[in-house]
Symmetry: D2
Subunit: 398 residues, 4 copies
C-alpha cells in the first residue's frame, strides 16, 4: 500500500485520484492540499482522505505520507518539489515538469541531491496502445525508426490557469507538446540525443497571449525526425494520434476519437447528458475507459511498483527535463524562425551517433533501389550502379 | 484484500490471474488446483501462490480461501460448485455456467440454498466499451431498443477439451454464444423475458461432432430481437462486435480487431515473435491492453467489491442459468428447425409485457410515417390516415 | 451512343439520369415519361431530353428509342415490360423485378418470348467495392464460401409509394432485401441453388401495414448460408455493409457510412445545407461520389456495353426472378415461422450439389482440427482420431 | 467527342487511357507516341488507336488530334508543350508541370502566347472525396481555414526515371509534394498568396541523390498554414490522407488505404495474384475503383468539358506554375534551413491580405476564450478582460 498526498484538487487531481484509488487498488490518498478550503474538504469527502489542508507544506510533511503527487498549475511545481526535498518525500509531478528547462533542471538537481524517488507523470507514454506499439518497435518489427509523429489537438483546456501565460508558462506547445515530444522521443530512442528543433507557432483563433496552434520538427543525432502537432483550436473532440515510420514497418495509433465505439443519437432520449460540449447528438465516439486508455492506470502502477522495488520508473524528472529543453528550443525557433539547438547541460544518453547507412547492395556493382512485384506477376528491380550512379531497371519473369 | 482459490491452471486461469493480481491490486490467489501436479506447481510459482494441490476439494477447503474461482472445463463446473456449497465458500464461475440449463439450475439452487456469494464470470458485459454503451442505453440515448446483435467469431479455441463435445457440452454456440446472448439480453433489458429462439447451426469446416458456425435469433416478450453470430471458422483473428438499434439511435462496438492500433511489418525485424498464428506480417491490429479490453479487470472488481459490500454482482448464477436456458432452446431449434420456446422454470423479471405501441400522431387524423429534409431544404412529411390507411406526402417550404 | 426512354421522373429516375448522362458519356435519354406533365417537362428540361410525354406507351414506342429504362413504382413494372415486348424494345428495370415471383416470372417469360435484351438494375452488385471483392472471391482468395451477409438499413424511403403495401408489394424485405439477397447469392455462386429460407419480420416502429425490420437466412444447396438484415428504422444514415466468410479468408465492405471521408462541423458556417436529414452538425460521413459508389456507373456501362455486343449483362430478368422467388419464401417464412422452400419453376444453375467435405487429414489416423502458433513460438496441433473420434493435442518445438 | 494524342505509353499513360476511354466515354485516343516502337504498337493495339508513332512531333501534328495529353517524364514536358504551341494544339500535362518554376513559367507563357487551351493534370484535387470536402469548405462548413495538411507516402515509384534526378528534377518533394501542395492550397484558397516555405528533407533509406522523405510548411498571406508530408520509404502501401482544420470544423480524408473494403486471406486460395508487392496475404485494403478514387475520371471530364465550352478547367498551367514555385522554395529551404520566400513573378490572386481577426467579444469588457458544457451540465465560460488581459472563469447553472 502506498500512501499519497495529493497536491491540487482540480480536474487533473481528480482524474489521478480516480485511477489511484480505482477498482481493487491497494493505494490510498491520505492527504489532500488545495488552495481553497472548500475544494480540499470536498475532495477529502469524495475520495475518503483522512487529512485535508490549505497548507501545501502541511500536506507534504504529514507523517502518514509516503509520496507526494503534484497536480498543480505549472508555476507551482518548483515550490512543491523543493518542499518534498526538504521533507525527503518521494515525489511525482504532472506534466510538464517545469515551465522551462531552467526550472526543470533546478528540480532535477534538487531531487537527486535530496536522494528522493522522483517520477514524471507523462501518462501518454503509458497508454496501452503506446506500450504495445513501443514493444513492437523495441522488438524490431519496424526496423530502423525514421520518423515519429504525435498529434494532440482539442478545443482548449478546461481550467482558466492554462490560458494565463504567467501561470502556464506557454500555450499549447507546453501543454500538449510535452506529451508529443516524449512519445516521439521514446519511439526513436531515449538514449538518442535530440539536436535541434524547427517550430512554427501562431495564435490563430483565441484571444490569448500564448500560441494556440503549433507544429514542430525535432531532429535527432541519428537522423531520425520527431514531429509534434498541437492545437487548442481543433473542432470535433480530443484528437490524439501517433504515427511511426520505420524501414520495415509502420504504426498508427488513435487513442481517443476512433477506438471502436460509435454511437448515433437523435438526442430525443430523456435524461441523456452529453459528456462533451462539442456535440451531444449525431455520431459520437466515446472512449470506453478513459482512465485506462489515457495511461493513468499503467503510469501509477509503474510509479508505485518502482518505488516499492527501489528502482527508477519509466519516466523520471530527467525525462521531464529533456522534454522541457526540447520545448524551449521550439519556443526559440518559433521566434527566430531558425532551427534552434537543443541545449542540454545534462545528457545521459549516447553521443557521437552518426546517421545509419542506408545502402543495400544488390550485387558487386549495384545498390538495390527497389524491388517490386508487377501487375503481371514478374519481379522488377530498380538498381543504381555503384560507380556511375546510373539507374537501371530489370524485370525477371516468375 | 480478497484471498482466492483458483481451480484450473490453463489458458483462462492464467488470464484471470493476470487480471486479479495485476497492477496495484490488493487481491491474492492463495491456492491453485490443477489436475496435473506440474501445472499446479508452475502456476503457484508464476503467481506466487502459497498453496498448490491436485485435490480440488483441498483447494476449496483451504482455510485461507475467501472465494473460489472456477476456471475448469465445462463438465467440471457442477462438481466444483457443489464442493463450494459444502464448504460454504463464495464462488465465481467461468462461462458458460453449465453445459445446459439443467446443470445450471442445479448449481443455482445449490448456491442459493447454501447462502453463498455467487458470481457468473461473463467478462464481455464488463468490457469498457460495453459498460459505456450500456450506460448510454440506460440513459435513453437510443430510445426504445429494437434489436441487439453480438458477434464472436475466431479460428477456434486453444485448448483440446473445447473440441470434445462431452467435456464442452457443445460447440461454438455454447462457447461463444453464451457471451453474445448475455450482451444482447443486457441491452434489451435483463428483466424482459426471452420467449423463443430460432437457430441455424452447422459443422461447415472442422472434423468435429459439434457445430462450428451458428446464427440465432432470440425473441423477447416486448418484441425486441437479440441476435448471435458465432463461429470457430472465421479467418483473420478474433472478431468481437456488437450492434444495437433503438428508435432514437445506434451503437456499434468493435472490441478486438479494430480498436485504433494498426501496424504494418515486413517481418524482417529481428526477434519479432508474433502473438497470433493467423498472421505475423502485413497489417496487424493488436489490442493495447487485452485484459482490460476483454472486461476482466472490471469484472473482478465488480465481483470482489460486491462480495465485500454484501451485494450481488452485476452477473450472478441466475444470469448464467437464463443464458443456458436460451442456448438450450437454440440447440433444440437447430435440430427441429422450429422457433423453440425458452424454458425458464425460474424467472425473476417482468411478465406479461406486451409490445410497445409504435404510433406517433401527426394530427387528429394522421399518423406520422416519416419526416425528412429534402435536398433543396424543404421539410417533407409522409403521413398515414388513421381511418383510411391512405399514405400521403406533404412538402413544407423552409 | 445508346438512346434511352426513361419511365419515371422521380428520385430514382433522376439518379439514373445523372449516371447515364454523367461526365463524358456518349449515351442520351431521348424520351421521358411521367404520370404528371409538370414532372415530365421539368425532367426533360433538366436532362435535355428531346421528347417528353405522359403516355407510357408513347415513350416506349418513340422511334428514336433503343432501350427502355423502367424507374417506376413496383406495381407498374409488369405493364411497362409488356409494352416493351409489344414494341420489341430492349428493356432494363429497376429493382425488385416484380412484387413477387409470379409477376417476375411472367415478365421473364415475356421478354424471352419477345427476344428482347433485358437487364435487371441491381446496382449493388455493381459497386466498385463489390466488384473488387467478387473478383477476389472468384480468384479463390477466400477459399470455399461459408456465409455471405448483406445489410441495408436506413430511416425509410423518400417517396410515399414505398409505404403503401399495394403499390410497393411489401416493406423493407422487398425494397432492401432484394439487394442483399443478390449480393449474397453472387458471393456464394449464382449457379448454386437457394433451397430454403427462414425469416423474422416485424413492424416495430412505423404506422404501416408492411414490415419495417427483418432478418433472414437463405440456405444454399452446397451448405452455404446467405443472410440479409434490412430495416427502415435505422438511425444514423444509410448503413450498407457486406461480410463474407470463406475457409481461407474474410471480406468486409462498408459502402456508405464509413468510406474514408469524415467531417465535423459546428454548423455555424453560413449557407451550409446538409444533405441528410438525420444530422447536419457534428461528425458527418459523406460519400465522395454517390453515383459511382452505389454502382450506377458500372451498372449502366455493363448494360449498354452488353447490348451493343449482343451479350447478356451480368444481371438479367432471370436474376430478378430468382431474387423474387427467394423473397417470396422469406415472406412465407415470416408468417409460418418455418423454413420455407424456395419455389423455382425455372432454374438454370447446377442441381444435386452436396455439401463439400470439410475434412483435412493430418496423417493416416488423424484429422487436423486446428494448427496454431503458441505465445512462446511452438507449433500446436489439435487432432481428431479418425476411428475413435478422440481429440488430442500435440505441441512441437520450433 | 474529343480526339486525343497521348504522349507516353508508360504506367501513367495507360492509367490515363483507362480513364479516358473507360465505361461509356465518347472520347478517343487517336494517336500514341512512344520513344520505343514496340511500346507504341502495343499501346495502339490495347487501346485501339488508329495512329502510332515514335516521333513526338508527328503525334502532335496529326490532323485528327484535338488535344495533346503529355504523360512523359518530367524533363520532356517543356519540349512537348512547345510543339503543341507550334501546332496550336490544346494541351494537358501530367504533374508536376515543370522540374522547377523556371521551366513552368516558360511553358505557361508559351501556351498563353499561343492562345491554346491548357490543363494541368493534378488528379488529386479531382478525387471524389476532395471534391466533396472542397464543396463543404466553400460552403463554410468549416469556418475560416487554419491549416490544411496533405500526406502522400508509399514505397517508391514504379518507373526507373523517377529515381534519376536529372530526368525527374527531384525526389519525393517534386513527385508527391506537387499533389500535396495543390490540395492544401485549394482548401486554403487559390487566390491566397503562398508567401514562404520551411522544409526538412533527407535521403534516409534509398541509395539515390534526391530526397526520399520530406516535410514542409507553407505559410499563406492570411496566416493559414499548408503542410506536406511525402516519402518514398513508407511501408504498407499507398498512404494518401488529407486533414483540414477550420474555426468551425474538421475534415479527414483517406483516399487509398482505408476506404471501407477490408480483406483477409491466408493466400492458400489457388490462382490468387496479389496486386501489391508490399503484401499479398493477411489483411489487405484494396480500393474498389482506383481510376475514380484517384480522380482521373472527374479530372478528364472537367478538362474536356471545359475545352468544349471554351472555359478554363479547374487546374491550368498557371496552377502548375504556382505549385512549382512553392516546391522551389521548399528545395531552397531544405538546403538553407531557413524559411524561404515563394518567388512568384506571376501572381493573379489577391494581395495585401492581412491575418483575419480572431477575437470574439463576450460583452463590452471581455473577449470569449472558451465556452463549454461541464460534466454536471452547467455552462462554463472562460473570459479575458479586454483592458487588463486577466483570464477569468464563469459557471452558469442550467
Amino acid at each position: 500500500m502506498t500512501r499519497i498526498a495529493m497536491l491540487g484538487s482540480g480536474f487533473i487531481g481528480r482524474f489521478y485520484a480516480e485511477s489511484i484509488q480505482g477498482q481493487r487498488s491497494r493505494d490510498k490518498i491520505v492527504s489532500i492540499y488545495s488552495r481553497r478550503e472548500e475544494s480540499a474538504k470536498k475532495f477529502a469527502q469524495d475520495y475518503n482522505c483522512e487529512h485535508w489542508t490549505t497548507s501545501m507544506e502541511a500536506s507534504i510533511a504529514h507523517p502518514g505520507v509516503d509520496i507526494v503527487c503534484i497536480a498543480l498549475p505549472n508555476n507551482l511545481h518548483e515550490a512543491a518539489v523543493m518542499l518534498c526535498c526538504k521533507y525527503k518525500k518521494a515525489v511525482i509531478t504532472t506534466k510538464p515538469l517545469g515551465r522551462n528547462a531552467t526550472e526543470a533542471k533546478r528540480m532535477l538537481e534538487a531531487v537527486e541531491a535530496a536522494g528522493i524517488f522522483n517520477g514524471y507523470l507523462e501518462d501518454l507514454v503509458y497508454t496501452p496502445k503506446f506500450l504495445k506499439a513501443y514493444e513492437s518497435v523495441k522488438n524490431g518489427a519496424l526496423g530502423r525508426i525514421l520518423w515519429a509523429k504525435s498529434r494532440e489537438t482539442h478545443p482548449g483546456p478546461h481550467s482558466d490557469w492554462f490560458w494565463d501565460i504567467e501561470q502556464a508558462g506557454g500555450g499549447c506547445i507546453l501543454d500538449l507538446g510535452c506529451h508529443c515530444v516524449e512519445i516521439a522521443r521514446s519511439f526513436i530512442g531515449k538514449d538518442i540525443k535530440p539536436v535541434e528543433v524547427m517550430c512554427w507557432a501562431d495564435t490563430q483563433v483565441k484571444p490569448i497571449d500564448a500560441e494556440d496552434h503549433a507544429i514542430g520538427l525535432v531532429k535527432y543525432e541519428n537522423g531520425a525526425i520527431g514531429q509534434f502537432e498541437v492545437s487548442w483550436t481543433f473542432r470535433g473532440g480530443l484528437d490524439l494520434r501517433d504515427e511511426v515510420m520505420g524501414t520495415e514497418g509502420t504504426i498508427w495509433t488513435n487513442t481517443f476519437l476512433r477506438t471502436g465505439l460509435e454511437m448515433f443519437t437523435t438526442g430525443k432520449g430523456a435524461d441523456y447528458v452529453a459528456e462533451k460540449a462539442e456535440s451531444n447528438t449525431g455520431w459520437l465516439f466515446p472512449v470506453g475507459d478513459e482512465l485506462n486508455e489515457l495511461g493513468y492506470n499503467h503510469m501509477f502502477a509503474d510509479m508505485f511498483n518502482a518505488m516499492e522495488k527501489g528502482l527508477a520508473p519509466q519516466e523520471t524528472f530527467y525525462d521531464g527535463y529533456v522534454v522541457n529543453a526540447i520545448l524551449d528550443a521550439a519556443y526559440r525557433s518559433a521566434k527566430t524562425r531558425l532551427w534552434e539547438p537543443v541545449q542540454l547541460d545534462i545528457w545521459r544518453g549516447k553521443t557521437g551517433i552518426s546517421k545509419d547507412s542506408h545502402l543495400t547492395a544488390y550485387d558487386e556493382d549495384h545498390w538495390l533501389v527497389k524491388e517490386e512485384m508487377t501487375h503481371y506477376g514478374a519481379r522488377k528491380l530498380i538498381l543504381k550502379h555503384k560507380q556511375t550512379g546510373k539507374i537501371s531497371e530489370r524485370v525477371q519473369d516468375k
